[in-house]
Amino acid sequence: AQAAEVEWRLSHWLPATHPIQPDGIEPWAESISEASGGRINITIFPAQQLGAAPDHYDMARDGIADVTYVNPGYQAGRFPIASLIEIPFQVTNATDGAAAMHEWYAQYAEQEMPDVKVCMMNPHDPGAFHSKTPIHVPADVNGMNVRPANATIARFVSLLGGSSVQVSAPEAREALSKGVADAMTFPWNSVYLFGIDQILHEHLDMPFYASLQTLLISKASYDALDDDLKTVIDEHCTPEWSKKFSTGWAEWEAAGRQKMVDSPDHTLYAPTDEEIALWREAAAPLVDSWKQDVTAKGHDADAIYQSYQDTLEKYGVKY
């Protein structure tokens, strides 16, 4: 292929076949190539080929890749503001939700991620609680071994009197089938993808938690662009693009929920309003400790928290 004027490397840590690549990353990169008249070409390096998943922020900072896909939660405590998104029971979907997160976090990105340009926010479709025995209320988690999605959920599980089993997603099936774990938090279709649908038949049907992924651009790479190319990139780092970027994966995950509704093997339990209140109450300490973490870093925690709630409200995605 003819070399483009700007050759960028995009690094992520999911397999190339994961929906985020064909449905999110590739259309985005193609759109940039088109909008720039072929002057920017982005090569995708999937599956941690250029570095370990938790290092992807530093990889953008250091120029190992020009664009990286990051889960800030992989480095517990490093990006406290962003981790608000991980606290359960806040957001109902990942499409308008992504746009809301984008608008909200743009206010703080410069402070919290000064080395990079935060281009997009990409939560997955809100994940649910899947278990062997039914979980309806927080007390049901007491004494359970849970494979948590992230450090915030791990904290939540221990608040509820359960213990967390730290295994990777591919190992989770083994851990569950052998009784090392009894439950896990996961987005819906991923349950099928990892074959966990054969082990866990009880599902708590509420938008439990959002994960947080972001797409970052190395500041040095961005600054080196001509002004017209900077505009092209800016036009691809908008709340609308965050929504567009997140839609394919979110729809794919949501299809898994419908599949379970239709399946006789699976029981979905929609909690009552009182039960939802119990869950919120149980999660309240998470907000408190989040506020402590953020205050400790010199930010106005209450204002940031309020702004998130307001933005979610504005986009109509507040749970």
Partner: protein, 178 residues
Amino acid sequence: MTRIARFLDTLSRMIEVLAGLMLAALTVVIVASAIGRYGFATPIPDAFDYSRLLIGAAITWGFASVGFRGSHIKVDLFALMLSPKARRWVDVFAWCVLLLFTVLLCWKMFGRVETTMVNGEGTSDLRMPVWPVMLLIWAGVAAAILTTTAKIVLMAMGYGSLEEHESIDDAAEGASYE
């Protein structure tokens, strides 16, 4: 051996014992954590994070030990075809390359320890600070600079080589049990 050779030897062996004891302690911690989790449903909080980080520390301190003992995995085929004298200088060269890598690693890794400290990265359960263990890991690499240099000096002076397996006669002396 000269006095300096004996000193370097003693120092390196002390580092080695320290690293070995770390491994022993970790074995006990991981078993205790497994028993806690499966036996009594009370896992030790942060056992996962701390055990993997401390294994890292044991490895870098062990790296210091290997730098001294010469027991890295390497291709001996060509070196063993050389005369003992030529082999000695090949060995010195090989260990200088190891030293170069170790120095680079030590320099760059320190930056990593610093960012961990500045950013306040924590463990997943209790959010305990990670940087002290990172510093311990880094210190192992720093110790490796010391031991690798010691090995180079000793080899250049004509003491020791990169050969590792003892002969049957040496082994026979060691077989004192039964």
